[in-house]
Symmetry: C2
Subunit: 209 residues, 2 copies
């Protein structure tokens, strides 16, 4: 791609370094910014730089935070004895969007995946064990993606916590709402049969949800 301006080229290259942004998209974004007021572009760049400089990770749950504790951990209205264990902050956002969970979180920062060279020591597992021991946690809900890595992580952490009087659960696997039985994979269908629930529970979960 040819550029008549080095300033333009540099800006396009910076955008093109972001994931999923190619040169053509980067050019479109930069040309958009050129059309905007200088103050708007300054606000854009200042917000990004300020965010990177000031952002912190919650010392308790490893979620992204503005200060030492994130908004969720510092909210005393939430159940302090219930922890939902997730892989990353996107999962926190997804679960919060359902408005169905009122406990705290623990962000592992990934899942155990020997093939990717990720072992337990690189994840926030030790801090989870300490929270369970110190914070009088009654229940841990694993909300990890349903694959081998997720299941391995659940198994590993479950063993670490086996001497603690904490209830350990995982979110239900099954056929999605709107999904069709004939197109479900065998694993999901099999698990949805073995984990079947009484109809009265199902009906009450629908009427509450």
């Amino acid at each position: 791609m040819f550029f008549s301006s080095t300033l333009l080229e540099n800006a396009v290259n910076e955008f093109a370094r972001l994931p999923g942004i190619g040169k053509k998209t980067a050019l479109r974004l930069v040309l958009h910014l050129i059309k905007q007021d200088e103050s708007m572009v300054t606000q854009f760049s200042d917000t990004i730089a300020h965010m990177r400089k000031e952002i912190k990770f919650c010392s308790r749950c490893h979620n992204i935070a503005d200060s030492n504790l994130c908004n969720i951990c510092s909210n005393t209205m939430r159940k302090q004895d219930l922890i939902c264990v997730v892989e990353n902050i996107r999962d926190v956002i997804a679960i919060e969007s359902t408005q169905q969970f009122n406990g705290l979180y623990h962000v592992l920062g990934g899942v155990i995946s020997p093939l990717d060279g990720i072992g337990p020591d690189q994840l926030n597992i030790e801090s989870l064990v300490q929270r369970v021991q110190k914070e009088n946690i009654l229940e841990i809900i694993f909300a990890l993606n349903p694959n081998i890595q997720g299941d391995t992580t659940i198994y590993y952490i479950g063993r670490k916590l086996k001497d603690n009087p904490v209830k350990i659960t995982t979110i239900a696997r099954g056929i999605s709402f709107g999904g069709e039985l004939e197109f479900a994979d065998e694993m999901t269908l099999a698990k949805s049969i073995s984990n079947r629930i009484p109809v009265e529970n199902y009906i009450s979960s629908i009427s509450n949800g």
Copy 2:
């Protein structure tokens, strides 16, 4: 979308204001930046802000430039008597990528489009007329998109220049390379017949191109 951090939320909102970037993509970009070194993010934001502050438009062709004249206009190796008229800077980049054009450009900044409220006065037409009169231009090539607005613009500028001894041409319309006749629209097919070229010219254009 729920955010546990105001810094994160502000940064996501800034990205989501860019065209074609939704909230989920913005979040992905911001989480990527959080993972990068602070110096890399500072470089990103500084480059964008610096670009917007320092970027100029070429006083001759209205292309984007670092100084008073763009790289193309200040390149004395290029033909100074040949101007390619384009709608915007993306078209300059597209034509430069072919490495087939060695003249100068004139960026109109749009095309005449009464429905969008764009008249000749909002475009860089007067400066084109002045260039033709002062710079001893021999030929103008219109490289505008093939639609009514483009054709209207060619017609309008052509009339403005009719008293000047300048050759006015437009890029060829026809079936694209790799295109199939049966799927071409009628207009393109009709124009490709009426603007047919001698086979010897066609063969020499292929062997040169």
